[in-house]
């Protein structure tokens, strides 16, 4: 298969897919190495970008899919008459962030961090399809462990969990730590 044929094949298959198509699956379809498929897909994506197309080829949740270009949001939203996605509460977002960075993680572990009962929030996130049980903890009780789903990646436009922003960047600076320490002092009476 020439490079050109491969690109055409990718364009055709991704065009008819309703979920992101993995390089692995395309490798099977085209009987070509996955690395070759991957690099052809990347080249295609770049060429669309260069040619300023109204669509993009993005890697989401491990696979490729066509999407409208973000700067066409005005027309696309007008067209699709999309309702704004239901917003999650602060509590739900923080819990989701904990699951994303700490996965696999149990309800009890999340509760311990947030200092509140999180059963309701975890259930909500599970029902929305953002998190799912991914296993069970060892030891007594065998608590259910949660992780994020492909839908979570999709909604955030991420190719994989590795693309999450590094949590270190969000740790409070030294000033905030000193301030927190100060605030804890009267609480503990020392």
């Amino acid at each position: 298969m020439t490079e050109d044929e491969l690109r055409r094949g990718i364009e055709a298959v991704v065009m008819v897919a309703i979920e992101p198509v993995t390089p692995g699956l395309m490798a099977e379809l085209f009987e070509e190495p996955a690395e070759r498929v991957e690099s052809a897909a990347r080249a295609l994506a770049e060429s669309y970008d260069r040619d300023r197309r109204g669509f993009v080829l993005t890697k989401i949740a491990g696979g490729y899919r066509f999407q409208s270009h973000p700067d066409q949001a005005l027309y696309v939203e007008r067209f699709a008459n999309r309702d704004v996605s239901q917003r999650l509460s602060t509590a739900a977002l923080e819990t989701l962030a904990i699951v994303a960075y700490r996965q696999p993680v149990s309800r009890t572990q999340i509760s311990a961090l947030r200092g509140v009962n999180v059963d309701g929030v975890v259930r909500l996130l599970e029902q929305r399809g953002y998190i799912e049980p991914v296993g069970r903890a060892e030891g007594p009780g065998q608590a259910v462990l949660f992780g994020t789903t492909d839908l979570f990646l999709e909604r955030l436009g991420l190719a994989s969990l590795r693309d999450l922003p590094p949590i270190e960047d969000y740790l409070p600076g030294p000033d905030a730590v000193v301030e927190l320490e100060d605030r804890l002092r009267p609480a503990l009476g020392d």
């Binding site: 008819v16 409208s68 989701l96 961090l113 929030v121 999709e154 969000y170 927190l180 009476g189």
Partner: protein, 272 residues
């Protein structure tokens, strides 16, 4: 205590106190950013607002909003109770060490929570960016022969009925439970149970006296919430001479005639 709520829609429930009027999450923000001294904010109106909101507008706000309100209110109470608790004059060196250990643990938990709260903002931003681009969902054109494997294999009418129930189930409601604020210790309800036995015997006491024997901070906070519950129920009268003063607790005579245990009290009180 926990990182201040710094984003997301306002909780939407207003409270009114002599020094502050407005959304409760703003109140928390002001307190945690030291723009308002928690000791100057009487919290009884906050509790009243919560109860009133519960009764009047359950349908309008939905439980998620209300539980968020409760969480914020609980944090305020926790902050205030921390400030109210008198520090011990003499500290056993061993106790002090334990205190430092506890503080370090709390501090690291707080820092981590802050990081997650901060990154949650970023996640929202990412989701909003991603939502600007819609995926193609058209699928394969009609012309193609799809040798459809039987996707319904293994699907029984029974599974279908259950799927329908799942699909049409109400969105889950968060359980609003006062025990939210206690991690795994005594619940507020249990503390109320305990106090309705203890307080009539003591008639009049102070908060410090009542909680002097308690080691864990969380236990003290639970008692504080329980006292507020009882105050709300008209079982006790609270008084505080001055801002840093003792919190006095007075059992209201005759109150013990009603019901035994918190379940009975709550039901008797509110069902009417």
């Amino acid at each position: 205590m926990r990182a201040p709520v710094r984003y997301g829609p306002s909780v939407g429930v207003d409270v009114s106190t002599p020094v502050f009027e407005g959304p409760i999450d703003l109140l928390l923000h002001l307190v945690t950013s030291h723009e308002l001294d928690i000791l100057e904010v009487p919290l009884a109106p906050v509790v009243d607002a919560f109860v009133a909101t519960m009764q009047a507008t359950k349908d309008r706000y939905g439980l998620e909003v209300l539980s968020e309100f409760l969480l914020v209110a609980a944090i305020l109470l926790e902050l205030k109770s921390q400030r109210l608790l008198p520090g011990p004059d003499e500290v056993d060196p061993e106790d002090e060490l334990l205190g430092w250990e506890e503080r370090d643990l709390l501090l690291s938990r707080l820092l981590e929570c802050r990081a997650y709260a901060g990154v949650a903002d970023r996640l929202v931003q990412m989701a909003e960016d991603a939502a600007r681009s819609l995926p193609r969902l058209t699928g394969v054109d009609e012309g193609f022969v799809v040798h459809a494997p039987d996707l319904l294999e293994g699907v029984t009418p029974d599974r279908l009925a259950r799927a329908f129930l799942r699909a049409t189930a109400e969105r889950p409601v968060q359980r609003v439970d006062l025990s939210h604020v206690t991690v795994d210790t005594l619940t507020v309800a249990e503390a109320v149970d305990e106090l309705v036995v203890e307080l009539p015997r003591m008639r009049s006491t102070t908060f410090a006296e009542l909680t002097g024997h308690l080691a864990a901070r969380i236990e003290v906070i639970v008692r504080f919430l329980a006292i507020l519950e009882l105050c709300k129920l008209g079982r006790v009268q609270l008084g505080q001479g001055q801002t840093f003063g003792e919190l006095s607790i007075e059992w209201i005579e005759g109150a013990e005639l009603v019901g035994v245990g918190v379940g009975a009290i709550v039901l008797d009180e509110y069902n009417g």
